[in-house]
């Protein structure tokens, strides 16, 4: 009986899609495993990309704050290049560009660059690291002088001051700006679909291509991106409340 009812719902969606709705919900639902895998692909690529970018960005930002000679100029040039060019172009250079170089194709590097997934992860990582370095540099600069001087007067070494005071405090301060970077990265990740990766947009494109549709695949993809961004912004709101508790106006 339950089986029968479930079947009827399915049938009803099909009927509705074919006869009433301009959007074919039935096809979207029928292909949801592809979108589910696409969402997983997007989340892992962006998640890992942001993680490695963060690992790179913290030391680079510290280097920028301290204006380390030579190194600082190199980091500035790096940030300037990767913030000054589109992510899509960077991915093309890594994916198509490197594959044209015989030296790379015939070395152990090809194990990594042969795979579209690794190319994408590398592009995401170095792109996001450039932006995150700039965000963190600003945040570390803004750590109040008083906190740093207090640490100094406690006899902390420069290393300890960074580990215990400046980096933790700076990371907290960077949170609102960083949440934007995360959202941009999620949206920017659609470029993965141009190098054969089936991410969320890639799944949408395949659905459109398979059934010659104009927008069903794109609408399904848009909804999934919105859901992911919604979850991410809620997460950041939560953390901001947790970690900025001491900065919030006192409630009366």
């Amino acid at each position: 009986m339950a089986e029968q009812e479930k079947f009827d719902h399915w049938e009803a969606i099909q009927q509705f899609s074919e006869n009433v709705s301009p959007i074919d919900f039935y096809l979207i639902l029928e292909n949801w495993p592809m979108f589910w895998e696409g969402a997983w692909q997007t989340v892992t690529l962006v998640g890992l990309g942001l993680f490695f970018a963060g690992m790179i960005a913290v030391p680079l930002a510290v280097c920028q704050v301290n204006r380390v000679p030579v190194l600082s100029q190199v980091v500035s040039a790096y940030a300037y290049f990767f913030r000054g060019t589109p992510l899509l172009l960077q991915l093309y250079l890594i994916y198509y560009g490197f594959s044209e170089i015989d030296f790379i194709r015939h070395s152990f590097l090809w194990i990594v660059f042969k795979d579209a997934w690794w190319c994408t992860l590398i592009a995401f990582t170095i792109n996001s690291a450039a932006y995150t370095t700039e965000i963190l540099r600003g945040a570390f600069d803004q750590v109040p002088r008083g906190e740093v001087e207090a640490a100094k007067s406690c006899g902390m070494s420069a290393w300890k001051r960074y580990i215990r005071i400046i980096i933790p405090s700076g990371l907290r301060r960077a949170l609102p700006a960083y949440s934007n970077e995360v959202i941009f990265m999620i949206h920017g990740s659609v470029v993965a679909s141009t190098v054969t990766i089936i991410d969320i947009l890639g799944a949408g494109r395949i659905l459109n291509g398979r059934y010659y549709l104009a927008y069903e695949g794109f609408i399904a993809a848009a909804v999934i991106y919105m859901i992911i961004v919604f979850i991410v912004t809620r997460g950041f709101n939560f953390w901001e409340k947790q970690w900025f508790a001491h900065l919030r106006p006192r409630e009366t």
Partner: protein, 261 residues
Amino acid sequence: MKKIGFLLATVGILAASFVQPAKAADVLRVATEGAYPPFNWTDENGVIKGFDTDITFALCERIGRECELVAQDWDGMIPGLLAKKYDLIIASMSITEERKKKVDFTGKYYQTPTRMIARKGANIDGSVKSLDGVSVGSQRATTQACYVEKFFSNADIKLYAVEADGYIDLKNGRVDVYVADSIQLQAGFLSTEAGTDFEFIGPELNDVECLGEGTGIALRKGNEELRDALSQAILDMRADGSYKIINDKTFAVDIYGPELQ
């Protein structure tokens, strides 16, 4: 009140100037991809050429209509037709049941087999078993993509927006096998410098559901008159030898395939 009346009148005039009813003498807009040699390709001056466009202008002349070419990316081809961005698709589109749900087709204007290629000595014979875990490429939204997804689910399938992107990955070893129209494979890849190390593998592929019954001209449903005129014009050209002249301009062999009864 007056203002609203004026506003409505303005909007009405504007709307009327945009939405003109289609007249028989209107120019027929014909979409093609321009990235599918030798059927349609774009020369260094941005002009689209090839067998498809030769056929297009010959047919238009025959049915007494003026035609203009519109370049359109492949995966938006049918949606663009349905959105009335153009009136015909003459872009080597195969006639399949899935596409017939969306658009109408004329009779075929050519029919060439789909085949697979791989690097020489790659030891892949093209059987389903030999493709286990092998990466197989094809163009998205094509009959070949349908075939690959239907029969080679054990392979690592990679779909490309244009054939040329797939050929780059094939040349560089990211893709092991590529499935496409045999003539396009020959002209677009095997006969180019990049394709010298590659060869056809396996037999011609056959599957009416995916690969269809030849290549036709697509048009929106409800244009029976135009559709039948074009179908007849193709048959007439076939009969009076003008098809052969256009065919021989590009191809060494006749690509029409079996004659329609």
